[in-house]
């Protein structure tokens, strides 16, 4: 009779580039989860849990299939659980499952879409004024905080956040236009 044996995986058992891929997904994952939680703190928790589960279930992942879709499914399940917990804690519902499904809905995405969008983004950045380029890169690429940048520029953090928001919206439009043309 066959008995299932428990086996401890060693590093070399893990599909080799799983971790690199997972690493590569983090910045996408981060905002995907933020879009599901609306809170930076809560997103952190969901991401940790997602990474944990992804690594735990690594054996379930079929190499060659879409890792991103797989990880994002885990993440949206976690986010759903998070909202249910919240609902239970508060006694009333703010975000229901339907809403979550809607948010987590992914457009059919071909491979490399993120990279193509990023290429478009670089082109779009070139269209900005140098001052705005610097602002955007300081904030998002170098990871400086709005509060610090505001002090440097002698403005209010909220005003700066507004400015960044406007620039982001312009960039998003620009990316969409470029991809449509291509």
């Amino acid at each position: 009779m066959y008995t299932e044996t428990m086996q401890v995986l060693t590093a070399s058992d893990i599909p080799f580039d799983f971790d690199a891929e997972l690493t590569g997904l983090q910045s996408e994952l981060k905002y995907f989860v933020l879009s599901l939680t609306g809170s930076i703190h809560d997103a952190e928790e969901v991401i940790q849990e997602t990474n944990r589960i992804a690594l735990q279930k690594v054996a379930d992942f079929e190499p060659g299939t879409n890792l991103k879709a797989w990880v994002f499914t885990i993440a949206s399940r976690q986010a759903k659980a998070f909202h249910r917990n919240l609902t239970k804690k508060r006694g009333f519902e703010i975000v229901d499952d339907e809403m979550m499904a809607h948010l987590a809905e992914e457009e059919e995405e071909s491979d490399g879409a993120f990279e193509r969008e990023q290429e478009a983004l670089v082109e779009c950045l070139k269209l900005l004024r140098p001052a705005h380029q610097e602002l955007v890169t300081s904030r998002y690429v170098q990871g400086r905080r709005v509060a610090d940048l505001a002090v440097e520029q002698d403005t209010h953090p909220n005003a700066l956040a507004q400015k960044l928001f406007r620039i982001r919206t312009r960039l998003a439009e620009c990316i969409e236009n470029r991809l449509k043309e291509a």
């Binding site: 910045s27 735990q56 006694g91 690429v141 170098q142 953090p157």
Partner: protein, 1193 residues
């Protein structure tokens, strides 16, 4: 973007601008979801924004530079000192907290199960082309691999971390070093996580929050060696370059700055003097600073400390504010209301030297003082008018709120105030008021949700009570130790549960029953009922004693009569125990009748009390002329019932007459069972109403089983006068509507048994016109045992007294009568929830693993945290002892925490900014000596709150003008050094009360049930569950809507919007410091909210009536009333211009004028020209929106 209305769109935009830059507040998050809901366009926009940030953050800096995109040079720009450190600490977005993930993954890493199919059990996927940078070693464990992976994750925010300690930029290490100021904060922030109070996460046995630990010998290594930095292991490790040995570990992402390292070395070299955490040391009364003695600015001790600090900082104070400003400021801070024009005039014109002091004393004597002080206390105590969870039903607690107001007005010494609230019920001969005071610990949210686990809820309440008590009185974040030892403060998990043990012997049930008066409660009858009540309670206590005596001395009965209880007032008896007959015998009022055995009703033998009947579907027994119930009279229905073999909708019995005007309604009663298993008794009153009592599903009768059911009604004409007893034991009812029974039964009808009771059975039905006592209920339910030859002696003894002894019968009948009056009065009187100890157990608790209610660890007795002084000698180990300990004059925290809160209420910002946290992670006091002086003064004055407020508001520091200069904003941006007078946006309640007061609308009535001023439609419905009694908001009418905001009905899951929008907390948990934000919503409330518009119209009416032809005079008067200051000429011109513009507008559109002035509950003055009134309503509305009106100046 244009999705719906422009306000929502603007709000949505501002959320989009903020979400990636900072944590949204929970209010903002709620708004975000609300705005996203049912709006696909917004959802798309939201996803797009998230996506674009992800794209941006994924870009590579080097590549961008190559593309010619401007990237700023990467050197860190030092931040100027004006930036608030608190903000900095909150902002870093560390997406993956390395340490936390590693810790978590450590648990799961070795739980990986092997591949699923046997074919794959050999080494599965093989590494072929590994990317070089992530090349793992062959022997690498998963844990290591994970750490490496995590380390490679993008840490954008931490790429450019500015120096961590802010203070480091303004100080240099050659200044003197102070442990509590310089070293402890470094240790707390960077080291405690692994070397702190939490035993479980402590590494290398090194503990740095205690002196013993910091200097301990650990296998020949010493973390700190006084005077010798080079021998100190800590120093060696913080300067270590090897990433495997350096402390803190790089993974922890808390590297020390050079300044911090230098400071630690300096401290060790200087002798490594250790001090306890400042707030855990008893405050000593500091000497007054000598150098400012005699300075004319110094009016009292407060000023001496403040002035010295200002001088230290190179600042100087402002002059006194002018009298108008001062008058308004003091009135708002002392009473929460602006001064009336008369009060203002009296003060401004008072030429005596102590005019201000006299003015302050008048304010302190006003009853509005207590209302204002109480308001802060209600936040802290999480007071509300609903339970806060699940149905969020009404909860009656307002007598406690009134107690708080009265206590402040009577200037009850604060230690007494605290003691009575923590343990008033345990004081010797506790008075009614002392018991009411304990409502403080009953203000927590509670639930009665079906399916909740009572133990879990009980733990939740206990935890909340400890957290609240610790926050309010001790300024400790004890809640951090629920799941594990506190990470930063020396409060172990065991300390927490030892503290919790004080609150773990309460008589209140875990399920609140969704009722307004979850026991224990104090009943507070008024007027004549109050007199009757006290007599009633006394008599009931006497009767209980006498009856117990009689029962004890009874001789066991030798014979049992026809009934197990006295047969007086037995209206109907149907034994059903005759066999073989084709008829059933029924005694009505002692007369025997025979009823032919109907079809579909069968006899059976196996009821516990002999034979009975059982019903088929549709089978029924009709008993003619049994007489009707009368809601004024008591009754009891006793019978044995066999529940159907499966739970189904059934009718057990009913007696319903046709009633109502058209004869289509019913009158009488009905006993039914639902498919959910609940058992329901309905009083039907024809046209006048229906009152239902429900024994809910989880408490219902067991299916397919014989059991005894007693339904008793005391005649108290309320739903709560009815009770179900199953097998002699009371079962909690779910109150449906908690209604009064204010109708009578009409008509007459036969009593029907069955009709829809398939497979159900009955035996020994008795209906009495009196209330059965608990003892009688027991006898009725034990009839089967009692009739056996071997019945226990105790039962025969009980029978002898209760059923046979005529003396006992008199006592028992009198007791039943008091029950009727008790129920009648209790239901018609206010109640308030209180604390009460269980008598059958001792206070104790279990340490709960990870805080989970069912993971019980060590059992602990009540005790106070080890780091704080011990309980006074002889103090009992219960809440009373805890109260005595908290209010010991030598307690290091209570007085400090309390005066700090009073200071915060008066100056707008505490001397310790984190009023809720005096622990190591809290802010340090800006004026430590002043805080200690105030704390000792408070205790020495006999905990005199008014004295402290008086000291504060009469100081020069408080009286300063709030005018600021550029220099002051630079050096003292948030006025922590008090270089100017307080200026802040007023709190929600003050803003509303002020509008009501200046317009003359305010109703000054004090106390009583909470009131419901208007609020937008539908707010409650969206948060309410189906059966909630706070689902539909019913606005009050008349004068009640103009009461002070402290009396506004507070539904915890949907607080009153004009309060919530101005940062009032939900009151679901303890809040000792409100946020203060400014949002566009606030302006919308001020401009459009019904009562604000109504207040503006009232103000305009007053102006137009008083100055019919003098528009300048009108403006001057209105401005003085609203701002508390004479109008200046520029404003006068502007406002006059505005008035004529408004007039012009309304002249053209008189309809909108009429519409505007019709706003609110009170009608506009008909005698005034509507167009003129509307124009001036707008002027008044403008005034109420002024910056110097919504702010304290």
């Amino acid at each position: 973007m244009k999705f719906s209305n422009p306000e929502d769109d603007r709000e949505f935009d501002s959320l989009l601008a903020a979400f990636s830059e900072r944590e949204l507040t929970s209010w903002e998050q709620d708004r975000l979801w609300t705005l996203l809901k049912n709006c696909p366009e917004r959802v798309e926009e939201w996803k797009r924004q998230c996506r674009v940030v992800a794209l941006l953050e994924g870009l590579d800096e080097g590549a961008l530079a190559e593309e010619g995109i401007a990237v700023s040079p990467t050197n860190v720009v030092p931040l100027p000192a004006a930036c608030d450190e608190k903000v900095k600490r909150r902002l870093p977005m560390r997406w993956i907290s390395g340490a936390a993930v590693v810790a978590m993954i450590g648990i799961v890493a070795f739980l990986f199960s092997g591949p699923k199919s046997p074919e794959q059990t050999t080494t599965p996927v093989v590494a072929a082309a590994r990317p070089e940078k992530l090349e793992p070693r062959e022997t690498e464990s998963i844990q290591e691999k994970y750490e490496r992976t995590v380390a490679a994750l993008p840490m954008t925010a931490s790429k450019q971390r500015p120096p961590t300690s802010f203070a480091s930029l303004s100080k240099t290490p050659d200044e003197s070093v102070d442990f509590n100021n310089d070293i402890r904060p470094i240790l707390a922030d960077k080291c405690y996580h692994c070397h702190g109070p939490d035993e479980k996460s402590r590494k290398a046995d090194l503990r740095l929050d205690m002196e013993e630990g910091a200097f301990a010998d650990l296998d020949g290594h010493f973390a700190f060696v006084a005077g010798d930095a080079e021998k100190s292991e800590a120093v060696i490790r913080i300067y270590e370059e090897d990433p495997d040995s350096v402390m803190p570990p790089p993974d922890f992402h808390k590297e020390l700055s050079d300044w911090e390292k230098a400071k630690i070395v300096q401290w060790i070299e200087a002798g490594a003097e250790w001090e306890g955490h400042w707030s855990f040391e008893k405050p000593e009364r500091p000497k007054l600073p000598a150098d400012v003695k005699g300075d004319p600015w110094v009016r009292n001790e407060i000023d001496a400390f403040v002035l010295r600090k200002l001088k230290e900082k190179g600042l100087s104070p402002n002059k006194d504010a002018d009298r108008y400003i001062l008058a308004r400021r003091a009135a708002l801070d002392i009473t929460g209301l602006p001064p009336t024009p008369e009060e203002l005039k009296a003060f401004v014109e008072d030429e005596s030297e102590d005019a201000y002091e006299k003015y302050v004393d008048r304010l302190l004597a006003s009853p509005h003082y207590g209302e204002h002080r109480a308001r802060f206390w209600l936040d802290a105590a999480r007071y509300g008018d609903t339970h806060g969870l699940h149905l969020d039903n009404y909860r009656e607690m307002w007598p406690w709120r009134d107690w708080v107001i009265q206590a402040f007005n009577e200037n009850m010494p604060f230690d007494e105030f605290a003691r009575e609230q923590i343990a008033g019920d345990l004081m010797p001969n506790a008075t009614r008021d002392q018991r009411i005071a304990t409502g403080f610990s009953r203000c927590n949210v509670s639930s009665s949700e079906g399916g909740s686990i009572p133990e879990e809820l009980a733990v939740r309440y206990m935890v909340d009570r400890v957290e609240t008590t610790a926050t309010v009185f001790l300024g400790l974040t004890a809640g951090c130790a629920v799941c594990h030892d506190h990470k930063y403060d020396p409060i172990s998990q065991k300390d927490f549960y030892s503290l919790a043990a004080f609150f773990n012997n309460n008589a209140d049930p875990a399920m609140d029953g969704n009722q307004k008066d979850t026991p224990p409660v104090v009943v507070l009858p008024e007027g004549e009922m109050a007199i009757e009540w006290s007599g009633l309670m006394k008599r009931r206590a006497e009767l209980r004693v006498e009856m117990a005596k009689e029962r004890a001395s009874a001789v066991p009965a030798k014979q049992i009569g026809a009934h197990p209880v006295g047969d007086d007032a037995l209206r109907l008896w149907m034994p059903m125990d005759e066999m073989g007959d084709e008829a059933l015998a029924v005694w009505v009022d002692g007369k025997e009748q025979e009823i032919p055995l109907p079809e579909k009703v069968n006899r059976i033998k196996d009821s516990p009390v002999g034979p009975g009947i059982v019903f088929e579907e549709g089978g029924a027994v009709a008993i003619p002329n049994p007489g009707m119930f009368n809601p004024d009279r008591a009754f009891s229905i006793s019978f044995w019932v066999r529940t159907p073999d499966e739970v189904r909708s059934s009718t057990l019995m009913q007696q319903l007459a046709k009633a109502g005007k058209d004869g289509k309604k019913q009158s009488g009663f009905k006993l039914t069972q639902s498919v959910q298993g609940g058992t329901q008794f309905e009083f039907c009153g024809g046209d006048d109403g229906l009152v239902r009592s429900l024994l809910p599903g989880e408490e219902a009768l067991d299916p397919n089983k014989w059991q005894h059911l007693l339904i008793r009604y005391s005649g108290g004409r309320s739903e709560s006068a009815l009770e179900f007893l199953v097998n002699g034991k009371r079962r909690p009812l779910r109150p449906g509507t908690e209604d009064l029974i204010d109708f009578d039964f009409e008509g007459d009808a036969p009593l029907q048994l069955g009709t829809s009771f398939k497979s159900g059975g009955m035996s020994q039905l008795r209906i009495f016109d009196r209330w059965m006592t608990d003892e009688e209920a027991r006898l009725l339910a034990s009839e089967n045992v009692l009739r056996k030859p071997d019945a226990p002696e105790s039962l025969k003894k009980l029978y002898a007294a209760v059923a046979d002894d005529p003396d006992y019968r008199d006592l028992s009948r009198e007791f039943a009568h008091t029950q009727c009056r008790r129920d009648y009065i209790a239901f018609r009187s206010p109640t308030t929830m209180v604390m009460q100890e269980r008598t059958d157990s001792e206070p104790e608790a279990f340490v709960l693993e990870r805080g989970e209610y069912d993971k019980k660890g060590e059992k602990v007795k009540p005790a106070v945290p080890a780091v704080l002084p011990p309980m006074p000698k002889g103090a009992p180990r219960n809440r009373l002892g805890l109260a005595e300990w908290i209010t010991m004059p030598s307690h290091p925290l209570t007085a400090r925490v309390t005066v700090n809160r009073l200071w915060q209420q008066t100056f707008g910002r505490g001397l310790v900014l984190t009023a809720e946290d005096f622990g190591t992670m809290g802010e340090k006091p800006t004026h430590p000596e002043l805080l200690d002086w105030l704390a000792t003064e408070f205790v020495e004055s006999g905990w005199d709150v008014k004295h402290m407020i008086r000291l504060m508001v009469t100081s020069s520091a408080y009286r300063q003008s709030s005018v600021s200069t550029e220099e002051k904003i630079g050096a003292d941006s948030d006025n922590r050094y008090l270089s100017r007078g307080p200026r802040r946006r007023l709190d929600a309640e003050v803003i509303r009360d002020q509008a009501l007061a200046v317009s003359g609308l305010l109703n000054e009535k004090m106390g009583g049930p909470s009131v419901k001023p208007p609020q937008p439609q539908g707010l409650w419905v969206v948060v309410a569950q189906g059966g909630s009694n706070t689902k539909d908001f019913q606005q009050d009418t008349g004068e009640d809507v103009y009461r002070r905001s402290v009396y506004t009905y507070w539904k915890k899951t949907a607080p009153p919007p004009p309060m919530a929008i101005f940062n009032a907390p939900s009151r679901e948990s303890c809040t000792v410091r409100r946020e203060r934000t400014n949002t566009p919503l606030q302006a919308l409330v001020l401009m459009n909210e019904v009562q604000f518009v109504e207040a503006a119209r009232e103000l305009a009416e007053m102006g137009v009536r008083n100055y019919p032809d003098d528009r300048r005079g009108r403006l001057k008067d209105m401005t003085l009333r609203v701002t508390g200051r004479p109008v200046n000429p520029t404003d006068l011109e502007t406002l006059q211009y505005a008035a004529s513009e408004f007039r012009e507008y309304f002249d053209k559109s008189p309809e909108s004028a009429k519409e505007l002035i019709a706003t609110g509950d009170s009608p506009p003055d008909e005698s005034l020209n509507p167009v003129e009134l509307a124009a001036w309503t707008m002027v008044a509305n403008t005034l109420l929106n002024r910056d110097d009106v919504i702010n304290e100046n």
